[in-house]
Subunit: 367 residues, 4 copies
Amino acid sequence: MSNTFGTIFRITTWGESHGPSIGCVVDGCPSGMELTEKDIQKELDRRRPGKSPVTTERKEEDKVEILSGVFRGRTLGTPISLLIGNTDADSSKYEPIKDLLRPGQAEYTWREKYRTIDWRGGGRASGRETATRVAAGAVAEKLLKRFGIEIIAYSKEIAGIASDTNGLDLTKPEKLRALIESNAVRSPDMEAAAEMEHAILSAKKDKDSVGGIIEALAIGVPPGLGEPVFDKLGADIAKAVMSIPGVKGVEIGDGFELARMRGSVSNDPFIIQRGKISTATNRAGGIIGGISDGMPIIIRAAVKPTASIAIKQKTVDYQKKKGSEIEVTGRHDPCIVPRAIPVVEAMIAAVLADHGRISGQIPGKLM
Amino acid sequence: MSNTFGTIFRITTWGESHGPSIGCVVDGCPSGMELTEKDIQKELDRRRPGKSPVTTERKEEDKVEILSGVFRGRTLGTPISLLIGNTDADSSKYEPIKDLLRPGQAEYTWREKYRTIDWRGGGRASGRETATRVAAGAVAEKLLKRFGIEIIAYSKEIAGIASDTNGLDLTKPEKLRALIESNAVRSPDMEAAAEMEHAILSAKKDKDSVGGIIEALAIGVPPGLGEPVFDKLGADIAKAVMSIPGVKGVEIGDGFELARMRGSVSNDPFIIQRGKISTATNRAGGIIGGISDGMPIIIRAAVKPTASIAIKQKTVDYQKKKGSEIEVTGRHDPCIVPRAIPVVEAMIAAVLADHGRISGQIPGKLM
Amino acid sequence: MSNTFGTIFRITTWGESHGPSIGCVVDGCPSGMELTEKDIQKELDRRRPGKSPVTTERKEEDKVEILSGVFRGRTLGTPISLLIGNTDADSSKYEPIKDLLRPGQAEYTWREKYRTIDWRGGGRASGRETATRVAAGAVAEKLLKRFGIEIIAYSKEIAGIASDTNGLDLTKPEKLRALIESNAVRSPDMEAAAEMEHAILSAKKDKDSVGGIIEALAIGVPPGLGEPVFDKLGADIAKAVMSIPGVKGVEIGDGFELARMRGSVSNDPFIIQRGKISTATNRAGGIIGGISDGMPIIIRAAVKPTASIAIKQKTVDYQKKKGSEIEVTGRHDPCIVPRAIPVVEAMIAAVLADHGRISGQIPGKLM
Amino acid sequence: MSNTFGTIFRITTWGESHGPSIGCVVDGCPSGMELTEKDIQKELDRRRPGKSPVTTERKEEDKVEILSGVFRGRTLGTPISLLIGNTDADSSKYEPIKDLLRPGQAEYTWREKYRTIDWRGGGRASGRETATRVAAGAVAEKLLKRFGIEIIAYSKEIAGIASDTNGLDLTKPEKLRALIESNAVRSPDMEAAAEMEHAILSAKKDKDSVGGIIEALAIGVPPGLGEPVFDKLGADIAKAVMSIPGVKGVEIGDGFELARMRGSVSNDPFIIQRGKISTATNRAGGIIGGISDGMPIIIRAAVKPTASIAIKQKTVDYQKKKGSEIEVTGRHDPCIVPRAIPVVEAMIAAVLADHGRISGQIPGKLM
């Protein structure tokens, strides 16, 4: 088990899907930063289920409480403990199928590793765990904002339908955010959004699910974040994003497309822009040699379709070690991409906050 | 700077491209394992340049010396220090261009971060650094082999030309390895290999470079490796592979393709095979919920084209902060994919050895 | 800030003295271990104030709740989150003196480091923080007990009065524990206990405080725990114990006395005892070369007198930067030694559990 | 095995006593610092044996080579690899006694832990390992000096003979250092020095050995170093010092003496001195609540007598598991205290450099 992430800005999360509560401890946040529950609730509400037909029907309030680390509205530099209750857990559907391995789910490997597992709602392997990442990430995002860094993610692709993201105006993050939040699938492309929504509902009708690709931008990151050779910024982001349930691929900048280019095309020429060094293109996605170069950081994550589907699937009974069939009838998202977006943002924020602290660009006290 | 990788099986590397030598320290290897310089040299020789027309002409012997941690042919459980001399460094070509930023190279970000840099041959940002990863990885691979784990990587794609990898026989790793090593580009598909080689030489003639995709398999990994929720096996592999110079994307199993499937297709059905639980397909690439499931682990890495190309490129002079042009005339690989293959294997081996130690599946002493 | 301790068995604590609650997250505990709130409450009750005239009058219930990591009475291998409410915090006494530095207390250094501090009751620098160490330690102690390891600590000395500890019967830990718990100062020597109690009350009457020395034994530790060269068992114990508020010295075995012996006396001769290798004496205190040798581990910790005393003391006003006087009139222990005993046990347990996990002697699952 | 120390300023050491060489890798040193082999050699020469009748006769040159991390006299921010040859190893004396456990030595516990050991000269458990600590520490000391921090250690006590250290002038570190270096036992008290030397030689004549107490001062440390609650400055120093071979006790400030004081005496009153907050006394030894307070940091380490003595001792044969006798006739120091002094300085320097980096008081680049 390793439930702590980061070197100086460090997140520790805990909790099972159907336990009394879940939560996290954020260590290494500088002292003197304004922080309220509202800052965190805002992000949790974005991840919260039950808000549109494309998400699960589980109705979690996801109300966060700050238990430590903040005094009279300001951080103390001490660990910030955040608590979120589990209020709408319904374990009854899981009891009858507890020995049937749900295809694509973690029960099999967890049983092999831990033997004793909490089979209710996926236990700690449930997507519910990501709520605590979002809570912790909200603290990181607040901190980064003070240093002019904004993280914005959206659906780049769902069910094979791509968003047109040419011409996104990165100079107005709040406006871009509003655009993305204006539809249920979080695409900045309204036409694609409608198609995506339709594709999700169509899969849902078929008791099936779909996946997609999340694109995230980190804007305003100064040059110099990233610690060669092993803790390169891209390497740490890759780990952070790949640790999110359902993510099976990560690329930076032009990613896999770079593999098909020639060097004369893939290299970003250096230029002088407003007296400062910059690059004419950004195929590298803001990271060269593992260190941020001042351009927007661009990350894409491949999200597999939700594993829990109501279609009858072949599987085995773990105890009896024999073949069986399963219909997973809990409440599940037919597509987790829209709700995974704040999680991707949170994990990228955690990495940037940590590298900000490690490099000294973010100091230990803010006032 | 962070030059240490791993929690218990830990690698620390050091060295600049044109310094007196490079090396690494491997900590956490169990005691009692047979180990000789030959075991390591074998892997170094695979990464060594100067062996075919598709690689650089720098002729490094890459001769490794074991300085500690081994006594009378067996490991002691103490740190294994490995030293490799730099014998063919030629810094003369770098002096005249030391203030010109080479597009796609790390000088710009390194100068921003460290100010003082060793501009000779890329310094520590040079691909030469990866020789020490291969040396350390050889120790990990030897260890894993004792536990029946084999890691094999090859060119899945170069310059857009794909290897046909259907029907690779994973039950005979040594035969597969021989097949891969039989051509200069390390493809298991002889026809594709010829085309790839041609494409590389054609780019070289144009003073340009090409990239590609490396596919790696880890065969024989038992279920139970990987530490949820942050140190998932796939997350740690993603970090390890993304930390390799030139890698800009990582995917596991069907990776980005999963984003376009439906759940009913992407889920690997559980089956009973020879009395044991297995999966009928392996779209997950051997990792479910961050933990190995016993199936082959499948990883793909996108490698960008070599940044150093002899074509004239636009750039800037770092000191004068003004536009310029550059022709990078050192000795460079027109395609680093073939030589990066042992590096990818080494990094995956390092992760698996570490998770084997963390989980206790690999004990601290072997005899 | 660094509020996480350990490599695999890892404790993260949080909370301020007068915040809503305090707590901890215990990661890396093997799955399958029986664990209830009672196991933890028992240890918390030993640390709890308000039980005798020699302790503070603050009446904290210190009721612990397990929020995660345990399912139907058994650990899951996932993080165990423990919560303890702060119910009897009285901040009123601190408001008037919040800018006066209390001699021997951490406000000065905390203000220099964090600027923003929670001045109520010492904030996170309060001894109250140690309740969470005890809670986490109780989990470690339960785990160690399964492997036959017992940790027992007691007052070796208070206010210069020494306990006679010759002839303690280590073969009956429960009986020894009962003896120690039979008096308010936790000495195994009843006569000394009476004198110690008297000395504490006499200091209290004088509005003053006293210190002492805690001796801890770890019995049943197998040979082989400890990771040379930096994470030696004694080194990690020294750090663990020195991190407890008020501790200013740590020694192992004969400790400082060894500095005055000759080698012919200080060396413990090896002997064969019941067919196994042992030592005739135990001046090394169970650790040779940083690794446990199978003998009882012996640790002593010097605890300074409680810093908060009601006597008028010279000090300065932090804001006004000028001289002042202070009488600290909160509720304080005239001697923290008795209540620090379970804290010392907890920290030693945390180290041993971690080294048990690192060395593989304690596996990741217990059933 | 854990051969890496520190979080950001990180030391990794390697090497066996009779292997071809020993060395270390210093990671996290800021870029732009002037550094030459001379800076390191100077400290190694202080630890080097064979310089006086009170030390071993093994004549190691201990010549250090910088293999990486420095370019044209300045650090690069990349790992600094340091190599020291083993030139005077004589293994012949160890062969006949390789199965006899030397009392007080680590063979027994190492064999239990690793089974395979290098029995020549203690292998990695030899005091020779500390040369690499000194080499790494020299880099830390150079760095600290740039920030006005000086570390000075000396023999506080040898064979029960105490140095009078009242009135040491801490405002002139170089002069104090010269005083200490003026005698073979490194005491600042010339009279005590003569007695100590006599006591050591007398023990040597008796084929025996003696121990002592090292006192170290860190002068010029600014307030704010140390990370509550677990990585307190005193806790990390305690670990660092306790990890040195032969050290069995550590205390800070008045240490164990504090246990016998009353709070009204042990508390250091805050005062205003030259407009700044200071303390009238320094019983706390420069650390309050785990954070440096600006006063000199005072540490004492108890060093046991050298375990290797030529007197006949009782022991056992490890293989035959039966009683035997041993006379350890290698070349050993009759008292390691004088040579351990630079080691204690080095370890304290490593901790302070790391905390300087973690807290941001020491930045990542110096020019």
